[in-house]
Amino acid sequence: MSANIVLSPTRISAMVLRHYYVLRSSWTRLLELAYWPTIQMVMWGFLTQFLVANSSYIAQAFGVLLAAFLLWDLLFRSQLGVSVSFLEEMWSRNLGHIFVSPLRPTELMISMMVMSVIRTMIGLVPASLLAIAFYGYSIYSLGWPLIAFYLNLVVFGWAMGLAICGFLIRYGMGAESLAWLAGFVIMPVSGIYYPIAVLPGWLQAVAWCLPSSYVFECLRAAMVDGVARWDLMAGAAALNAVYVIGGGAVFLGFFRAARQRGQLLQMGE
């Protein structure tokens, strides 16, 4: 049985290569990856500039909205990076070949996570550089905490993406809209642009179940109060460990159920 749990870097890189080929051959996909983060960054950037001139709170922490936007988009792109990699296989009706190859489901999941990192980089690096050019604001000035924010949000995106892929296996293309909408479901309770404390009590309890809420609270603490809340980062990391295991379990559970139901050959139809 040990052979069943050995992961192959060659097989994982083969799947990354497959998506790299798609990205390389399609300038529209590349453009789309960079387009939305850039457009939104520009919009939020100008809004922030306006608020700086009219709000003492924002004036205390120039760039807090811009940073919040960029990090939110990181989470959103990370989840989409996993889901869209899987959807690419469904759209091309290729899953039948993938699932009869020696590629393990775990290797498929890892390859999608790698692609998620590549996609988020393609989307957010240009946007972050434009923020420097347009507003003189660099998200990289956050320093080391940025790495903690990045890791926590990307991993939470993976967890959501893997769970969504599980639903795609179970419900087919009918579940495609989940990939596009899931991020917006958690958006209001993640405290991206406002503190969790402004939410009703019961909703605060929900918010504290999401790693993203910890990250954005931590971001505000760092930028507004100048305090490094590593306790919040630790809370996010602990929750992420649960979520990413849960996301993987949902994927593997639905994959096994699909093998019971005979859904794998028909996927994408």
């Binding site: 080929y21 190859s101 093998r259 019971q260 005979g262």
Partner: protein, 254 residues
Amino acid sequence: MQDNVVIVRDLAKSYDKVRAVDGISFELKAGEFVALLGGNGAGKTTTISMLLGLLIPSAGSIRVFGEDIARHRYRVLARMNFSSPYVDLPHRLTVRQNLTVYGRLYGVDGLAARIEKLGEELQIAELLDRESGKLSSGQKTRVALAKALINGPELLLLDEPTASLDPDTADWVRGYLQRYQAETRAAVLLASHNMAEVERLAATALIMKAGKIVDRGAPKDLIQRYGRSNMEEVFLDIARDRRGPGEADAEAAT
């Protein structure tokens, strides 16, 4: 190589109250070409899906290369491959890119040379740098075959490999499969609705109906036993529960 590449025993698959495959048993030896025949819904694709590990059986066992596929699926998948016109390759990727990805998934050594060799053999060398989505049906079939042969499989599962091909291309594909099998002694399991194809390629035909194997044998023996002139007539006799020409004539008269 062990003589029996595939051993299927009492294999069954049920969905709720539907018994898609109902206790079938058969073997497939190295160098043997076996055809799986049957009408739509007879259980052919379900059987192939279980052999590939895509579908978990409700009962029975499958051993491939001596390994229980329920426990060691990934150990045997590298030694087998599959082709079906109902499963595609990514359209945006060129043929070479697709073959590169699958070659790496199957752990093929000397991959670039292998792709060139298959390109020559399958007459797709000039297509290697074209996008897979821009090929004709015949070209796609040959590319799908290249993918199915990328790892030099010892067991090849083919689901209607010549479906929707023109007679010339279909004949070429059959000829190629015959040569490949003769050269490599691969075991081939073919699901097909094309009875002429079965007569030409298969040493043994397994005829399925309502999830069971209702008859089996060499095509020429089956033709003789049913008193028919070709496998198509044998197939119709079995599909319509007739016992031979006399009963068919009586049916035609009514």
